[in-house]
Amino acid sequence: MALVTLYAEAAAQADAQEDRDRAAFFLTHAYVFALEAGDARAKQFHARLKSWGREE
């Protein structure tokens, strides 16, 4: 799903720039759309957000 990929890429870029807040923002969107679509990447996005203290 294009939206998931776009937001995941934006999150990766922000993370590479060590901007954790912006990375978490984009990754949240990637996670939500992946969750909705049943995209398997939702699991890894959730795990990363959780490791950042951003998700339960």
Partner: protein, 385 residues
């Protein structure tokens, strides 16, 4: 609660009068009946065939209450209030696939198909999806008590009715032979009528055979009035049966496969029951149907007709001609009833109408329904006061 005097309705059919006009034309009584007759009981909401796969959802505004039926990953159907726990936004606007979760279109709070709140994006600020005051475990979708029988999704909105298996025990037992898988016939086996009448008039007309020779004269050639019998189960259901059902045949002489294991009673027998409050069922050896009455307003009802068969292959293209013939036959019969129910609705504005005098011989099933409604509105203890 209703302020009408229902004592005459509760008398034996030979002395009774029907429900007073206010039960058809008053907003106040419509609201009373919504609570006591439709929310406190098991009312039909939709059918499973409208949400065949996991992730399918059907929103229904039921008497003003926004609900959504959802088929979960386990194949089961659940009904939720179609309202986000955050800002009260409607979650599902139209029937179709919601996907893996129900995502609120407003702030994207996401609920699993079994109603749990899964994520709350940015709830603690941008990129922070948790907050100490957001306890997801207490913020799942509000589930409405539901049960599926004969593919109809029933709801008990108030949560106070007996278990469905107890509520419907008698009708389940009566039609035990028909406890078989049902296969929906597909698009042409689903149609609806938008009628200008109170929903109860559709029940009342459906459950008696008295009108058949006049309103459905086409039946006279093979299904005479004397070929029918009344069915009355006070407090539960009522209707009619026929002894001369003839299966529909295709031009080349084919007929639908029968439900397996039926006794000879059903070789030429068929029954038509109003299962109170708002579902009208019909069973025949080779097909069945359900009509859900959607009460839109005191004088506006949508009748949703769904036809089912005994075997999955009946939904295949090679049966299309016969499915269409059968659906057209029923469409024609039910269409013939529209002027009657709409005419009775207009007749209820006759201020001197007293609810109507029943035929003790022919109107028992209708009176049975009236008495049930009256008892729901005015329980015996209250009536005695």
């Amino acid at each position: 609660m209703s302020v009408t005097d229902l004592s005459n309705v509760l008398k034996p059919v030979s002395q009774a009068r029907g429900l007073p006009n206010d039960h058809y034309i008053s907003d106040e009584v419509f609201a009373s009946e919504r609570d006591a007759v439709l929310f406190d009981t098991w009312a039909g909401l939709t059918v499973g065939a409208r949400l065949p796969e996991p992730g399918d959802a059907v929103p229904v505004t039921f008497l003003g209450l926004p609900l959504v039926a959802v088929r979960g990953k386990d194949g089961g159907i659940r009904v939720f209030q179609n309202t986000c726990r955050h800002r009260g936004m409607i979650l599902v606007e139209k029937p179709g696939k919601v996907g893996n979760v129900i995502r609120c279109p407003y702030h994207s709070w996401c609920y699993s198909l079994d109603g749990n709140l899964v994520t709350t994006p940015h709830v603690g600020g941008p990129g922070q999806n948790t907050h100490d005051e957001i306890d997801r475990a207490t913020l799942g979708l509000i589930e409405i008590r539901s049960h599926v029988w004969r593919d109809v999704v029933f709801v008990n909105v108030s949560g106070t009715a007996p278990a469905f298996e107890d509520y419907a025990a008698d009708v389940i037992a009566r039609w035990a032979e028909f406890e078989k898988p049902l296969y929906h016939g597909g698009p042409e086996s689903r149609f609806q009528f938008d009628v200008a009448c109170n929903w109860k008039l559709a029940v009342e007309n459906y459950c008696e055979s008295y009108h058949l020779p006049w309103v459905h004269p086409g039946l006279n050639s093979y299904s005479r009035l004397e070929d029918h019998y009344n069915i009355e189960a006070p407090g539960r259901f009522s209707g009619q049966g026929t002894l001369v059902y003839r299966p529909t045949l295709s031009e080349d002489g084919r007929n639908f496969p029968d439900f397996e294991g039926l006794s000879e009673q059903w070789d030429a027998g068929a029954e038509y029951l109003a299962f109170y409050p708002n579902v009208l069922f019909g069973v025949h050896r080779d097909h069945a149907y359900a009509i859900l009455l959607e009460p839109v307003a005191k004088d506006h009802t949508i009748e949703h007709v769904e036809i089912y068969y005994a075997a999955p292959e009946v939904a295949w293209p090679e049966w299309e001609d016969l499915r269409q013939t059968n659906a057209k036959m029923w469409y024609g019969v039910f269409e013939e009833d529209v002027f009657v129910v709409e005419g009775m609705q207009r007749g209820r504005h006759g201020v001197y109408f007293d609810g109507g005098k029943f035929s003790p011989a022919m109107d028992g099933p209708t009176h049975c329904f009236h008495a049930w409604v009256a008892e729901r509105l005015q329980p015996p203890a209250a009536a005695a006061e």
